[in-house]
């Protein structure tokens, strides 16, 4: 083989003089071999690259969990993910010294009201777990009852298996999982649950199933089906956002799109949120998003009438834009619960 031995000499020396460990040496050796063949050795900072020193763990944590840190609020969610990260790191260290380890991450149940970020977090987790080499691809397949339950005997198992198959290497996100149990004994939903559970066993370690939905219904569902609780050992609750958090989300939405909220617009937003919160259609962050999108549309309708709008005019969202010009605000009614 055409590898020049002088290119690997330094690596061997580093290893032999105990400056690097075995895993690091093997990884570097591979890099040298690949480079020698004119290929690219891949990222030097990959997880597999080196022994887990405290600095490395800190750097990895910062890098891998950053998107999650950037989310507003969700402190409960963040601390659960933090403990999963710790589990993964410790298992990796155990593996390095040949102790028994388990690299799999358990399946999870996400509970919380609409718009509290369950889907958003699931998508991020896919990426995080892929970066930590827990999942091979980290994509998220979102399904609900209609995607799993079929029309005739056998159809359901087939549809559910197809969904599982599609999610291999990533996350299967089952929205309103309890809807599967709603039809009673003869309903095909049962078959979907059974197929799902079997698939989780057959494909242990190859995908993570996240079931999501309202807290109360989820608790009921998990208690109805003994064994379900232990199959979804990680429970993450997404609390409603506070008004301060919702306002912060509004600021971020504006900033991301080069808009800015005037103080009076923020006041208006606060007032609207207080009213929205009392309604059954309240959708937390989604409501804010809808209000903001409507406000940006209304801002355009207002600004088009200005003669020579300045840069500032083009950016500013005023209270009138937020209120939508009166009683029949475009965000009200079905608008605030619409899925995006």
């Amino acid at each position: 083989m055409a590898v020049r031995t002088d290119s690997i000499r330094p690596i061997i020396n580093e290893f032999e003089s105990n400056r690097i460990g075995m895993h690091s040496a093997l990884t570097k050796l591979q890099g040298a071999i690949v480079r020698n063949q004119g290929g690219s050795a891949g990222s030097e900072t990959s997880l597999e690259d080196a022994y887990l020193t405290p600095e490395r763990i800190r750097a990895l944590r910062a890098e891998v969990l950053r998107p999650l840190d950037d989310l507003v609020g969700l402190s409960g969610v963040k601390s659960v993910i933090e403990s999963i990260f710790a589990h993964v790191m410790v298992q990796r260290m155990r593996e390095d010294v040949n102790l028994i380890y388990d690299r799999t991450v358990d399946h999870m149940a996400f509970t919380g009201n609409p718009g509290t970020g369950k889907t958003t977090v699931a998508r991020m987790l896919g990426q995080i777990f892929a970066n930590l080499h827990i999942l091979t691809s980290g994509h998220v397949v979102e399904v609900e009852r209609a995607d799993l339950v079929g029309e005739y005997v056998g159809h359901t198992a087939q549809k559910t298996r197809a969904a599982l198959q599609k999610a291999l290497g990533g996350i299967l996100f089952v929205d309103e999982a309890y809807a599967l149990a709603r039809g009673g004994e003869r309903d095909f939903g049962r078959e979907a649950i059974d197929t799902l559970v079997k698939g989780m066993e057959d494909h242990r370690g190859e995908l993570i199933v996240v079931i999501a939905g309202y807290e109360r219904e989820m608790q009921h569902f998990l208690s109805l089906n003994p064994g379900m609780h232990s199959r979804f050992p990680i429970h993450v609750h997404f609390a409603d956002f506070t008004d301060i958090e919702l306002t912060e989300i509004a600021y971020r939405i504006a900033k991301d799109r080069d808009y800015k909220l005037t103080p009076s617009a923020v006041q208006a937003l606060r007032r609207m949120l207080a009213k929205e919160r009392t309604m059954s259609t309240f959708g937390n962050a989604r409501t804010v998003r809808n209000i903001m999108e409507a406000a940006m549309r209304d801002q355009a309708a207002r600004v088009i009438n200005l003669e020579y709008p300045t840069r500032d005019d083009l950016m500013k969202v005023e209270a009138v834009d937020v209120f939508g010009g009166g009683e029949s605000a475009p965000w009200s009614g079905s608008g605030s619960t619409q899925r995006w």
Binding site: M1, V3, V97, D102, G205
Partner: protein
């Protein structure tokens, strides 16, 4: 560091300590009718000892349940072929592991690492009875596998100790997930699967 002998095939036997590398080498010699192999032992610091041993004696002196029985490179020839181009040398090596206490052993592992780029075939031995988690090799083995694959020489992954409980299932489930890898299930102790492995070595070493 590579022995530059023209067109001699060098099979490198690598793996973690105690997985059965040495016993496998001796079994392969036996199966290839080299019943009194010449065994050349090169210590980590370069000292060389040559001995010709009967297989039975070789097994009783070179194989043991103690990890790091082999420290250094231990070479023997397989008995097939008379032409030089068909000569096949097997390099038995110091087992690779991340926890190393002894400097001599560390140097032994350094000798193993440097041989990886010299091999014309790599035989990676794993203990199929030991903690294989969910169709995955442990990390050391996973890294040995990647570095071996990177060399682009023929790579054989050998699940040894098939005779022990749980081993066959693990080998089968691993094979299911890694169809692209050439996998052998053997027992060096019970002499199972050695002929097949030898056949494949022979075929992989036909001069091109």
């Amino acid at each position: 560091m590579c022995l530059e002998v023209a067109r001699v095939h060098h099979g490198l036997v690598v793996g973690q300590p105690n997985v059965g590398k040495t016993l496998l080498c001796l079994r392969l010699a036996q199966a290839s009718s080299n019943l009194v192999p010449l065994i050349i032992h090169e210590s980590p610091s370069g000292g060389i000892v040559e001995r010709r041993l009967h297989l039975k004696d070789a097994i009783s002196t070179l194989v043991s349940a103690k990890p790091h029985t082999t420290v250094g490179i231990q070479t023997l020839a397989l008995g097939f072929g008379v032409k030089v181009s068909e000569r096949f040398l097997l390099d038995d090596t110091t087992g690779l592991t991340p926890d190393i206490e002894d400097q001599m052993v560390r140097s032994g592992m350094a000798r193993t690492l440097e041989r990886i780029v010299c091999a014309t075939v790599i035989l990676h031995v794993v203990d199929a009875s030991a903690g294989l988690a969910r169709n995955q090799l442990n990390r050391t083995d996973e890294l040995i596998r990647s570095v071996s694959m990177a060399t682009k020489v023929p790579y054989f992954l050998i699940f040894n100790k098939l005779d022990l409980a749980g081993a066959p299932e693990k080998a089968v489930s691993y094979r299911k997930r890694h169809r692209e890898t050439k996998i052998f299930s053997i027992s060096a102790l019970k002499d199972i699967g050695i002929e097949d492995l030898l056949d494949n070595l022979r075929r992989a070493s036909v001069v091109k």
